[in-house]
Amino acid sequence: MIKTVTKIVSGLALALVAFGLSACGEDEPLTQGNDPQLRRLTEQQYRNTVRDVFGGNISIAGRFDPLERIDGLLAVGASSATITPAALERYEALGRSIALQVVNERNRKVLVPCTPASEAGRDDSCAAEFVTSTGRFLFRRPLTDAEQTLYVSISGDAADTLGDFYQGLAYGLTGMLVSPKFLYITETSEPDPDSDGLHRLDAYSKASRISFLLWNTTPDAMLLDAAASGDLHTEDGLEQQFERMISSPRAEDGLAAFFEDMLEFERFEILEKDPVIYPTFVLDVADDAREQTIRTLTYLLLDEGGDYRDIFTTRKTFMSGALGPVYRVPVINPVGWVPYEFPDSSPWAGIHTHLSFQALFSHPGKSSPTLRGQAVREHLLCQKIPEPPGDVDFSDFNDDSNPILRTARQRLDVHNEEPSCAGCHKLMDPIGLAMETFDGAGQIRTMENGMVIDTSGELDGVAYEDSIGLGAALRENPSAPACFANRMFAYGTGHTPTPAERQWMGYLEGKFAEAGYRVPVLLREMVLSDAFYRVTPPDLTQSTADANDTFAEETKS
């Protein structure tokens, strides 16, 4: 990893001291909250949880069903995701594979906290010890008596059938890993004793929100302990947990997961570049380009405690052996990552100039000013571009051989003479055209069809000459930090801020600005707020009748 705990702590301390922040929420606007969420674990959350509960030696070999992106985030899509028959089949196979590894001869010595009286059959006492200690982290709360009895019973019955205690234990664990209580992060509300008539998340649900926001994994023992003792419902207890967690190297995982979602980086999994047109864009380059941007962001925002807006201007980054030749930068050590700062004279400053961004928002064999402009508008400024009409005629745009229309700008200008196209393209193209000196694989060029590429433009009234200037304009655009704050709140709660939460979001945006757009401060404001945990009680009006019908139907089947 590129940083140490000390560095992170110092960065955070700098931010907090510099802005004189103490406890949050004194003047926090009241919100009514939203429904408690039932969020399907993302692939990374599943992987992180297994890693944290059972260690990094457990192989997690399987495919996860993709989530739908809703309002710009997969994290919001997770709140409406289902588990289809094929998906459950995969979860069951994966769960068995993990469980059998956990109890294999090597791992059981570490991961099973007791030794059975006999390996040839059931030992409910030992199984209970394992189920209780493990289940707490998988269900993100202590198991109920009924749950403990169930999984001990499954383990024991399986051990009897198979004549093997550890095999039986593996099936008890498989049961927990296919339970909706593991696969869904389940939130529970309770009346808020401090606010008449309002509800809040219960302490364990609160622990999950904090943990998945900051570390993108299941709550650890200290956080669950704080939930159990009631500390998490106190200002001091909450603050203590926040500071512990934001100062941990794991906060890097949390912030990385957020940016992976916000920047649509899951598209790297299917990214293709034509090997004839872009022979240098190989898999190592794509993987490292993705990681370079994430490293840049976590370094700037956590290590340095930097201003969020500097993501559009920073020249500090990291370089790997695979990326060096692509950026035409000498890398002395071809293995691993080294800090690197682009020279002032270079065209690289800000993550929007990174290879990752340029390659991701292009065609397989061609750059795309429109896709790049759309990505900046939608992902970085939270401005939705309407869908195009069906009968788009881009034939002028494509006609590279046209002796007059030699650059993308000229061709787009002709295309945009069509009024139905011009409205949206005016929002996207000036942004994307500023990046036309990067080809479809992010390589530098200055000419297109013998003409010098014109990268000038304007963003919401601010003129610029090139992608560096575009970055400066983005940095000063008020939509950029507001977008980040809204996305972070949506990411943490699993829902897009509702109109009733607008006032609170305005408050949060203001706090972010007051703090010089320091991300740890934004996170602190959220985690220490009431609004982050404010929920409405679930609509249970038909619950009993519906549920009973469902049970009856299931009984019949």
């Binding site: 495919r63 089949e89 009968d391 005629d393 494509n398």
Partner: protein, 444 residues
Amino acid sequence: MSMTRRSFLRGTVAGTAVTVGLPFLDYFLNDSGTALANGAPIPVRFGTWFWGLGHTPGRGVAMDGTPDITFLEETQPLVPYKNDLTYFNAFNTPLDGKPSAVHFTGWVAAKTGNVPRTFGDTPEPTIDVIVADQIGGDTRFRSLDLSSTGNPRDSYTFRNSTSRNAADISPLAFYQRVFGAGFVDPNQADFTPAPSVMVRSSVLSAVHEESKDFMRKLGTADRARMDEYFTSIRQLEHQLALQMEKPEVSEACGIPVPPPEEEELGIEIEVAQRNHKLLTDILVMALACNQTRVFNMLYSQALSLLRRRGESFTHHTLTHEEPIDASLGYQREVAELHVTSMEALATFIQAFKDIREGDGTLLDNTLIFANSDTGNSRIHSVDDIPVMLIGSGGGRIKNGLHIAGNGDPITRIGLTALQVMGIPVERWGTGSLETTKTISDVLV
């Protein structure tokens, strides 16, 4: 001692270890070749096949007013299969004032009978899900959903907006899923259910039972999502139950050759076509081995990203960006790529014809609903979307016809397919797409 076929089968019902002494032979079929000797009819399968961007107007099939199909330039690969399919066009998708969500509205309307309000709005189930609810419960897999594009998101099968079936994309992973652990060869002589299967089933039952209490704490929307989970867990329990019984022997079943360990996934046409073929070869044997009765194959996305190596443009971008060739009057490269889609469809059909089953082939016992998303690839219109019904669905449908819809709602084709598959549905579709009229010309 003589032993009858029926006694063999009775001996397997209890699900305990048995030995079947003889291989499956033709005399296990009834005289007409449409049923097994135990009286069980050869099952009829249903599936979909999708390709993006349709055809160039006037280059699909001839609008000559006859019921014969005259394949034009872009459908030439289908000529050998003229008597295996019926081709529909000139059916429309009235939008009822809703905007056309490009690359979405067309196929959603054709497959669900509902015009979406916007992207991602899919409140009604796709036709395959309706059929799977009826016939998908008696096999190991409720349906098998595939895409040759290398992206599991490229899957046009769902129950509603939040419950989408992701596609299998890797031939090797698909092979292992179907023919790896858990596969019981219906023709193997010995059958001993693995004790671990019973244990797995018990685990699921226990979790299923215990999780019901979970429902009581949830709001309405989340309860609906948990219903989906319970459906899934029942399906998995059912899969395991089937693995504890000796399956019916199947003449046509044979374990296919595993695909290569080294595989390449992606959107280059050659890569997609290779994976399409590999996935298809596994799929047809999965059907022949009664592992599923419902399937979906997506050859290319509605916004087809397939492209030739060395070309800057994808199939889709070419439809917008390739100038119309003045001498030809159409987009030449786009037209060539349309032909490659039909080549893939021809490969798909042939794979079904290559499996002998009863007196005919697997295709005779299958109904494939093949459709695209646009009627005019250049302007992405949602009227005149090409649709084909392929295979005779167990002799229930006529092939070799060209049916022009004269602007009738496209849902008439889907309703016909649903009724052919025995789904008790009299009307299908919403708004102007709602219809009660099947296409009787194709019904036997």
